[in-house]
């Protein structure tokens, strides 16, 4: 092991960094993208999609809080699947997380470049996109604290912009059009209620990534649950406010196809301060989202590399900055490739499908974790998620339902994703079947898992016993 590889990630992050990572990635989905729910199901379809997806994400964030504070590992969903399900599921989830975030980073960088071009027409989208990706990669290369502190500031400004706009509207400072609510209530009938579900995750897509900085937290058993739950509540509040503001200020037929709905709602209010605030918020959320995506995708790749799922060369940690710098730098060519593939809408859909796959496997990891380690000691489970495993089964059912709605309009993306992750599952299951990689529970300070009748666990337990 080289000197670089033996260095560990620095443990300095606090709950507000966890909040900034989670909300920073997701808040962009409230500034744009969520309004496709309106196109599918009108105001009532969008409201139902927001609540159904919100229920699923509340459960996912509780599962992530328990698993993240217990394992304290950088790979997040990948590490949970590796420890509690198996190598095939771990590789699929690791790749799904990587694809989810890297595709989002590419999309965010392009939007930042488009906004910059709309302000300064002499700029060109291609070089600005490259510059944004390069700059964020450099910030993440230099250190996670600087990257997430930047995210905190950007995200806080963008969230305050939504709060200020909402309260001004609620207290009558802005003229609204409540008639838009009835006019666009349910344009496609009852089927629209169901169809709108496919875009419901936009309100919260990626919040589970907040737990991926657990390995770099000073006190992960406090920072992860507190930061994750605060982040989830922030997003629920932001989603509800955004939906209300846009539906009472933009006619439904225009809202369904809007590129920057919150910014357009502010423009329709006719108040300059809100136009400026929401315009700034749109720009900042894209930067914050891309920044958080670099952080999370690099951690997922780093974790895959550390366990030899991909080349172990990527698992090096910088001796000075304590960042997984090779994994961070590697996000750049991949994001650029996605950004200039010319199929960005397909890439984003692939990102959503990848996310939904994670939402099936994260609660399943928790169910397995509970079965293998029923103890609630400080070492094993410092945070105990409530109402388990019932809510996990419920979240899995919602995720599968939303996945099934993607069959309308995104049939080929869905089939491609299943084939891609199916191949990954069987390839890595086969590759790791005879390998000698075992989970060293003792090193984590955990007892041996329950259920030694499971072949894989038995093998791991024996390996530890032999040592």
């Amino acid at each position: 092991m080289s000197e670089y590889e033996s260095t560990s990630l620095v443990k300095t992050l606090r709950p507000f960094h966890v909040w900034a990572l989670g909300v920073g990635i997701v808040l962009v989905g409230e500034y744009m993208g969520w309004n496709f729910t309106i196109a599918k199901g009108g105001v009532l379809g969008s409201l139902l999609a927001m609540l159904v997806a919100g229920t699923m994400y509340v459960i996912i964030s509780l599962c992530a809080s328990e698993l993240g504070s217990a394992t304290k590992l950088a790979g997040g969903p990948y590490d949970w699947a590796r420890l509690f399900i198996g190598p095939g599921a771990a590789a699929s989830v690791g790749l799904a997380v990587y694809m989810e975030y890297i595709a989002l980073e590419a999309a965010d960088a392009i939007v930042v470049a488009c906004i910059a071009q709309s302000i300064f027409p002499e700029l060109q989208v291609f070089p600005v996109t490259l510059l944004v990706i390069a700059l964020l990669t450099f910030i993440n290369y230099r250190g996670v604290v600087a990257a997430l502190t930047l995210n905190f500031v950007l995200t806080m400004i963008a969230f305050i912009a939504i709060l200020a706009f909402f309260f001004s509207t609620a207290f009558g400072l802005v003229d609204i059009h409540p008639e838009y609510l009835f006019q666009g209530a349910l344009p496609n009938g009852m089927i629209g209620l169901f169809a709108a579900l496919q875009f419901g995750p936009w309100f919260y897509l990626g919040i589970e990534g907040a737990a991926m900085c657990a390995e770099e937290c000073k006190h992960p058993s406090r920072a992860v649950p507190l930061g994750q739950q605060a982040g989830m509540i922030t997003l629920l509040i932001g989603a509800a406010m955004t939906l209300y503001l846009c539906t009472v200020l933009i006619p439904t037929d225009l809202l369904g196809v809007s590129v920057y709905p919150l910014f357009e709602a502010a423009k329709n209010s006719g108040i300059f301060i809100f136009v400026a605030l929401l315009g700034l918020g749109t720009f900042l959320t894209c930067v914050a989202s891309a920044n958080g995506c670099v952080c999370d995708s690099s951690r997922s790749w780093f974790a895959l590399s550390r366990d030899n799922y991909v080349s172990s060369w990527f698992s090096a940690v910088h001796p000075k900055y304590n960042t997984p710098y090779r994994a961070v730098i590697f996000t750049m060519p991949v994001a650029i490739g996605f950004a200039f593939s010319g199929f960005l809408d397909q890439v984003i859909t692939f990102s959503i499908i990848s996310g939904l796959l994670c939402y099936v496997l994260i609660p399943f990891s928790l169910i397995r974790f509970r079965k293998l380690f029923p103890q609630t000691t400080s070492k094993v489970r410092p945070f105990v998620s409530p109402l388990q495993p019932y809510i996990s089964y419920f979240a899995i059912a919602i995720a599968i339902t939303i996945l099934s709605t993607l069959f309308w309009g995104y049939k080929y993306n869905l089939i491609f994703a299943f084939v891609f992750y199916g191949i990954a599952y069987f390839y890595f299951s086969h590759r790791h079947k005879n390998s000698n990689i075992e989970n060293n529970w003792a090193e984590m300070g955990w007892p041996l898992p329950k259920g030694l009748d499971n072949g894989r666990i038995k093998k791991e337990a024996k390996s530890i016993g032999d040592e």
Binding site: L47, L48, L51, V58, S221, R222, L226, I237, F383, S385
Partner: protein, 89 residues
């Protein structure tokens, strides 16, 4: 030594109160915002939404119930482990 321990304990409880206030404040804002928005939207569209309004009631109820219990559990976890893991040092 006694004074030091008391000061430390007082500091920890004060910080725990800060964490609790943060979560309670956010939960209150969540309940008020969601309640206001759902009321406004459903009241304006009642002619259409009246036949399936229970779907909204079920899911908003689930969100608030699960999130509130989750937040109580977060507080309980911090309170249980704050001295053991030296959260506020």
């Amino acid at each position: 030594m006694e004074t030091n321990n008391q000061a430390l304990e007082s500091k920890y409880h004060s910080k725990l109160t800060g964490d609790t206030a943060l979560v309670v404040g956010m939960l209150t804002l969540l309940i008020c915002a969601e309640g206001f928005i759902i009321y406004r939207i459903l009241s304006e569209t009642w002619e259409i939404a009246s036949s399936f309004f229970y779907l909204y009631v079920i899911f908003i109820g689930l969100i608030i119930l699960i999130e509130t219990i989750g937040c109580l559990k977060v507080r309980e976890s911090i309170k249980t482990h704050m001295f053991e893991f030296k959260y506020y040092d």
